[in-house]
Symmetry: C2
Subunit: 138 residues, 2 copies
């Protein structure tokens, strides 16, 4: 049986975060020691590793809850898991696209300003005040 600190060390999930996941229903309430401290099984460790990994990949708590639920039915077809991951992937791609546009806009703004003049002439400030100086919509 593992203490919560052991779990934290092995998964890289911080102790308060583990308790938070329990509250959120991502992990089951652990057994307790005589003195009321949480004691985890190997299965709990696997579950937390799964969660950690999914969070690293940017899955939201709700998505993870769904994936866990799917995981409990090993004989079910896996279309749903596939769909969740695919939806997530397209969300990530959208974010990348948005950030790239933003990157270009900022590059353009910054490149016009070498820091060598006064605020009233600064392209950074002017670009923020006047949408007309932008390339794209946003």
């Amino acid at each position: 049986m593992l203490s919560i600190g052991e779990m934290a060390r092995r998964t890289g999930v911080k102790v308060p975060t583990i308790r938070y996941y329990e509250q959120m229903g991502l992990i089951e309430e652990a057994e307790r020691s005589e003195g009321n401290q949480r004691r985890y099984t190997r299965r709990d460790l696997e579950r937390l590793t799964f969660i950690r990994h999914a969070r690293d990949l940017g899955f939201e708590i709700d998505m993870i809850r769904e994936l866990i639920a799917l995981n409990q039915h090993p004989e079910a077809p896996c279309e749903n898991a596939d769909r969740i991951a695919a939806v997530h992937l397209s969300g990530v791609r959208e974010k990348i696209e948005k950030l790239k546009k933003l990157e270009h806009e900022l590059e353009r703004i910054v490149s016009h300003c070498d820091g060598g003049h006064r605020i009233e002439d600064c392209y950074v400030i002017r670009a923020l005040s006047d949408h007309g100086l932008c390339d794209h919509e946003h």
Copy 2:
């Protein structure tokens, strides 16, 4: 003089958000009508447009506060504005890099799964359970 609703329509910032910005000190407390409703000037509109635009470009509230402060000193040199924007730009680039790694990981995971088999064999689920199936560190 513009009502808060007018301001919202013209800038695309929602009404409660405008009040929130006031609370956060991003915009000055507006004058009030006899019946205690906010009344804004053209200058307030410009300020809110600036904020909106900066938020769209992903600047955080604190950065915007700094930029506004700079904007109040038109004769000062603009190095600081330039620096803030440049720091922000490199933050955006980092985010893009991270998301791209994530994209590749997800692509790889999803491409292994066509939804046509059972959960117990599903690559999506297995990849989440077993870090060893990943390409990169994360």
